[in-house]
């Protein structure tokens, strides 16, 4: 199908990109104005940083510094291998100067894992940096896509939107398919999160330049920046940046999409802009489309143009328990306690701390968790803000959940299958296409926790598939054992036959020799004579020995 679509895109040319109405979605209150009141602030340097290494296994690390060693800002600390299927590694750099103290598991504010290996860095406060080598504009214009990709990799950039997929790997995966369209995702649709908006408002030029660098890296033909219509300041800043482009030549387009949750989800954004529905269980690169977050674009700009590795990110700090919610440029590895302290945390008001927005966020077990490359928002919820869901009531079959589901699923039907645990029905009803956006939870008048049920079922389906693979393996082992037993039996039979043959051989040989000697062949008389002689010999020996005994007596 994608062939026809590509053909249509070619024929229709530029007009294939326009804003379409997407299915489902909700319009929750945004709660972004509080954190957007101030500019992005730098944090002071914390006394101690726990730099997350994006892994829990020591085997995947190759350390470049020793514990107790002094390091300087931007110095490369370790290379983290990303496993066989990526075939590359991710470098980690020092956010400030200081002394390395320890390598241990520590809580991390990451969407995927709650604990990672962290390098503890005791900051000395002097912030001595390795000299960076910024590129001249002319040199940047000459950079090839592969060179840009290498620089992005060397800077240790991950997808800043939340999923944290290594950017260089994503670009590489696109190269195999040939990317037609690169979309820079500025549609930060979830309530509370304002990090991308703040970033664009203040550094739109850098974002545009970074977007152009990403486009060159994946050699896409078109570059589009998609932003929600609720972000007026950011749109104005982007327009200005596109008009007064100084860093790089670009033909970047800006498309404003209607604000809706979840407009910023990769698949929904692609559908909104191109009308292409990415097939389930496939990446958008298969359809010639690549989506990158605007934070990633900014980080790429800093990596390629300024030569600055990824040691900080913009994180929103908000919630009613904070006196001054704002966006911070946070050094990776700062603890959440420290950041909440900077914003004036009212400890008595704090009911819970949440990572991410109010719909897809995850409650943090401890405020000692540290900021990693995917920490986009931290909410210190006050009393009454983000309350726990009221008691679950029976489904009244209103169908609201099906109306708002952006993936066009039937959540109430899925829930029924989740309860019976019927994984085949669940897969047939498209559970694996659920993006866990939480729109159904939000709209449900009976407060049924649908998404958590879906997440559990997804885990159990995963487990079932692992079991299937394990069964396959056992089956092979069993078949191999049976084959081995059969082979063993055949072999022992064969060897026994051979042994019998070899035990017969000397007799035959002797017989043939005798035949050669006596020239009369093997005869019974001769044999019986020989046996009688042998018996007589033995008797004689026995008689002799008995007479010996008699004599001794």
């Amino acid at each position: 199908m994608s062939v026809y679509r590509q053909l249509a895109t070619r024929l229709l040319g530029h007009d294939s990109l326009f804003v379409r109405r997407t299915f489902g979605g909700i319009h929750p209150p945004a709660f972004k104005q509080h954190s957007l009141r101030s500019r992005i602030m730098d944090t002071p340097i914390p006394a101690q940083l726990h730099i997350p290494l994006n892994t829990t296994q020591r085997e995947s690390l190759s350390m470049l510094v020793a514990i107790g060693e002094r390091v300087r800002k931007y110095q490369k600390l370790a290379e983290v291998s990303l496993g066989d299927d990526h075939g590359t590694s991710l470098p980690v750099h020092a956010p400030t100067s200081g002394v390395m103290r320890a390598l241990a598991l520590a809580p991390v504010a990451d969407h995927e894992s709650s604990e990672q290996l962290c390098l503890t860095l005791e900051a000395d406060g002097r912030d001595e940096a390795i000299a960076l080598r910024p590129e001249a504009n002319a040199a940047i214009e000459r950079l090839s896509g592969a060179e840009i990709q290498v620089r992005i990799r060397d800077a240790g950039i991950l997808g800043m939107g939340g999923a944290g997929f290594p950017t260089a790997v994503k670009i590489e995966s696109g190269n195999g398919f040939g990317v037609e369209l690169l979309i820079i995702n500025c549609a930060e649709c979830e309530p509370y999160i304002s990090a991308d908006e703040a970033l664009i408002r203040e550094r739109a030029e850098h974002v545009v330049a970074g977007a152009e660098l990403l486009r060159r890296a994946c050699s896409a033909r078109r570059l589009v920046i998609a932003i929600e219509d609720s972000k007026n300041d950011a749109i104005a800043a982007l327009r200005q940046a596109l008009e007064s482009e100084t860093v790089l030549e670009t033909r970047c387009e800006l498309i404003v999409i209607p604000a809706k949750y979840p407009a910023g989800s990769e698949r929904q954004l692609i559908e909104c802009l191109t009308g292409v529905e990415v097939p389930s269980a496939e990446y958008p690169t298969g359809s010639g489309i690549l989506v990158q977050n605007c934070g990633t674009a900014h980080a790429s700009y800093e990596a390629v143009v300024l030569g600055r590795p990824c040691i900080s990110r913009i994180t929103t700090l908000c919630g009613e328990a904070l006196l001054t919610p704002k966006n911070f440029e946070v050094l990776l590895g700062s603890s959440i306690d420290f950041l909440f302290g900077l914003c004036g945390l009212k400890q008595a008001d704090l009911s819970r701390s949440v990572l991410g927005g109010s719909l897809m966020g995850r409650e943090l077990a401890s405020t000692e968790s540290v900021v990693c490359k995917t920490t986009n928002c931290l909410i210190a919820a006050g009393r009454g803000e983000l309350p726990a869901a009221p008691a679950e009531q029976a489904c009244i079959r209103c169908g609201f959940c099906a109306d708002v589901c952006p993936a066009r699923l039937l959540p109430q039907q899925l829930l029924a299958h989740c309860k019976t645990g019927d994984s085949i029905e669940l897969i047939e009803h498209g559970l694996l296409d659920c993006i866990e956006c939480g729109a159904c939870d939000y709209i449900c008048p009976s407060h049924i926790p649908l998404v958590s049920a879906f997440k559990d079922s997804k885990l159990s389906i995963d487990e079932r598939q692992r079991d299937r693979q394990r069964s396959k393996y056992w089956q092979n082992r069993f078949q191999f054992r049976q084959y081995r037993i059969k082979k063993d039996k055949e072999q022992s039979l064969a060897s026994r036959a051979e042994a019998r043959k070899s035990s017969l051989e000397p007799i035959e040989q002797a017989a043939s020799e005798a035949a050669a000697d006596g020239a009369g062949g093997f005869s019974k008389e001769q044999a019986s004579r020989e046996i009688a002689a042998a018996v007589a010999r033995v008797k004689a020996r026995r008689g002799a020995s008995s007479s010996d005994k008699d004599e001794s007596k």
């Binding site: 085949i424 692992r466 393996y473 092979n476 082992r477 191999f480 081995r484």
Partner: protein, 195 residues
Amino acid sequence: MLPLISFWPVQLALVAVFCYAITLFIRKIVLVALQQLRTQRSLVTRINNVLPQTQCGQCGHPGCLPYARAISSGEASNKCPPGGKETLFELARLLNEPIRELDPAHGTFKAFSVAVIREEECIGCTKCIQACPVDAILGGPKRMHTVIESECTGCDLCVEPCPVDCIDMVAPTAVPEHAILDSRSVSVQKSGART
């Protein structure tokens, strides 16, 4: 050819379109038939693929394949405790039967466990090695034996023959690697390594 086209342009175009449509149609039919051929496997194989392959014999048959054969010839499909609920569901769906509860005569659902030999007590009798259906036990006569955890199916078959009762069934310490990466799976064809 050219005068022909100039003489009957519309007719020829129609014929071309018709031929194209026919070609597409035939291609589709061939593809569908091939697909069916590829997916059509015997019922026994399909049942066997649903069974958990622990080879534990709790169903009363010596292994999963014999039980699959028995099911395909009419035996009840609810005799497989290690398969869990999913196997019950999938078998019922495959056989187009109503979903039944597990037959309690053949055991109950249990969490996956693996065998562990208390090595100081092992006398090296090799009886467990002969009992193991997947060659997961390592050892020799009058030498200590041990279970390779990643290979153990948790079938329980080694526990009973042990004369000194030194085998325990315990919770596995980690997810075996081949459960995630099926890269080193053994196949019968590749088994020439044995001499």
